[in-house]
């Protein structure tokens, strides 16, 4: 059992007031708040450890490099990757996906196909459209069913020997659907396609294990995982990362530079050109330790309880419809109330200190599918409580009263 009060005390922002009310932060899908350990790690880095990595012979450079590389090992263990050099530090999920999609521009040809799905975040759509434009490959889309799950039968029909890559999110940021990625990976592998998983919404909620999963690429962001902004991970299998063309050129990613020919450094440095967000990477370790300290399975179980409670309670509001009713769901509730615009709801509950997200959540194709302008979205994290859910629901009821 997690001691939620104890956990909440580690997040200084949770005790601030917003518009005169206690903050109820239910926009964790966008970004989570940070515990003291992460905040301290970041500031301690600048106070005691700051230096550039991998370059100097002096003491601090060695220290900064050690700290930086410690996080890589921590991530390797966190996701059970085979090698630490399969962990590439990036700016975030979007950056990670772009590195792969950009590399595939020269690996794909006309006639090749990439499969994505209708529920992807724009970050897992646009890079592939750009990749197709440049390579001549074709983009195929797995359709969404009414309950917010993917049409896996149709996925089977889309797969062929032309499929070179399948890029799917682990969890939908809008609908909360946990996609059956084990099944998707297996089917894709059967036709020889590679698989990239957008794990932005998964890594802080459910256990992920690269060696069991057999995904070829897996991407996530530190900031959605109680860590700092501007840091992310691209996991890739060693041989595929070796094959993938370098993304950006610059310092740190080279072996030898001359005007005749430049040779590239090996993994992971090949994809880490320039000075990275060192402080962020160092603090990222504290975020992972926060999660593993609680136990990801304990977190998942606690959040499942919250989701169930919140779902039952919101459904008591008349005229409220939830988008995304998959059996296998993460703690995200997207909803609309009949006759009301989500924006009006969001504006009013904000005045009562409740932070929810409204809009299309960077998933316009989902909005088109359901023929709605947007939704209001509650997305929960481990520090949220049933009391906060009650406050949120009362705020929604009040908004509904004011608006109808």
């Amino acid at each position: 059992m997690l001691d939620i009060n104890q956990i909440r005390k580690q997040f200084p922002i949770l005790s601030r007031k917003v518009n005169g009310h206690e903050l109820v932060y239910f926009d964790n899908g966008a970004t989570t708040q940070k515990p003291n350990s992460v905040i301290t790690a970041e500031s301690n880095y600048y106070q005691n450890e700051n230096s550039n990595v991998h370059r100097g012979v002096h003491f601090l450079s060695g220290l900064a490099t050690d700290k930086f590389e410690e996080t890589r090992i921590t991530i390797q263990n966190f996701i059970n990757a085979k090698h630490s050099h399969e962990i590439i530090f990036t700016k975030g999920t979007t950056d990670s996906i772009n590195i792969v999609a950009s590399g595939y521009r020269s690996l794909l040809n006309k006639g090749d196909e990439i499969i994505i799905s209708e529920l992807e975040h724009h970050s897992n759509i646009v890079p592939w459209q750009m990749c197709c434009e440049q390579s001549g490959a074709t983009l195929k889309v797995i359709p969404l069913l009414d309950n917010g799950t993917l049409d896996i039968t149709e996925f089977g029909n889309l797969l062929s020997k032309n499929t070179k890559l399948v890029a799917i999110s682990h969890i939908s940021n809008t609908l909360g659907t946990i996609n059956p990625i084990e099944k998707i990976i297996k089917k894709a592998k059967a036709v020889g396609a590679k698989v990239l998983i957008d794990g932005a919404q998964a890594a802080s909620h459910i256990s992920i294990n690269m060696q069991n999963l057999d995904a070829d690429f897996y991407c996530f962001s530190a900031h959605k995982l109680y860590g700092p902004t501007g840091v992310g991970v691209l996991y890739g299998k060693e041989d595929l990362l070796n094959e993938l063309p370098a993304y950006q050129g610059g310092g740190e990613m080279i072996k030898e530079v001359s005007f005749k020919k430049t040779t590239y450094a090996g993994l992971p440095h090949k994809f880490e050109a320039g000075t990275p967000n060192i402080a962020g990477v160092v603090a990222f370790k504290a975020a992972i330790n926060f999660i593993t300290g609680l136990g990801i399975n304990n977190i998942a179980k606690y959040e499942e309880g919250l989701l169930q409670y919140a779902t039952e309670e919101v459904l008591k509001i008349e005229g409220l419809k939830i988008y995304g009713t998959a059996k296998n769901k993460s703690a995200i509730i997207s909803f609309n109330i009949k006759g009301l615009h989500p924006y009006d709801i969001g504006m009013i509950v904000d005045k009562m200190g409740v932070a929810i997200r409204t809009g299309h959540h960077c998933t316009q194709p989902i909005m088109d599918k359901f023929n709605i302008p947007g939704t209001a979205r509650i997305s929960l994290a481990v520090y949220n409580t049933k009391d906060e859910i009650d406050i949120c629901i009362n705020a929604i009821k009040k908004a509904k009263m004011m608006l109808s």
Partner: protein, 138 residues
Amino acid sequence: MSTIQKIQAEIIEDFELFDDWMQKYEYLIDLGKELAPIKEKYKTKDNLIKGCQSRVWLHAEHTQGKIIFTADSDAIMTKGIVAILINVLSNQEPKDIATAKLDFINEIGLKEQLSATRANGLVSMIKKMKLYAIAFNN
């Protein structure tokens, strides 16, 4: 005092009566509900204003030397704000609209009430109204 300024002064007075955000919001909601409907045929892509999370359509007509604005939004509070702008700027002469100083927005604390994205929507709305005025003035 020009008509546009007079109307603004009245709006500022109205808002001074409110003690809290709830009354302000309720007032906006009421204004939104009361806003005269726009003709369906004017809810076109061209009339859609960019920069709002909610959709806003704005139509302008030039009759007898004045501009008549009609508008709609799918979000009611946005519609309330649109209604205020229409109160101030509709049925006025193009040159007055084009040169109008809209002080009331800061005075009634609308900008602080609105999130950054919505405030941008407000700016694009005003810009579009002024552009119509400039176009009709020529």
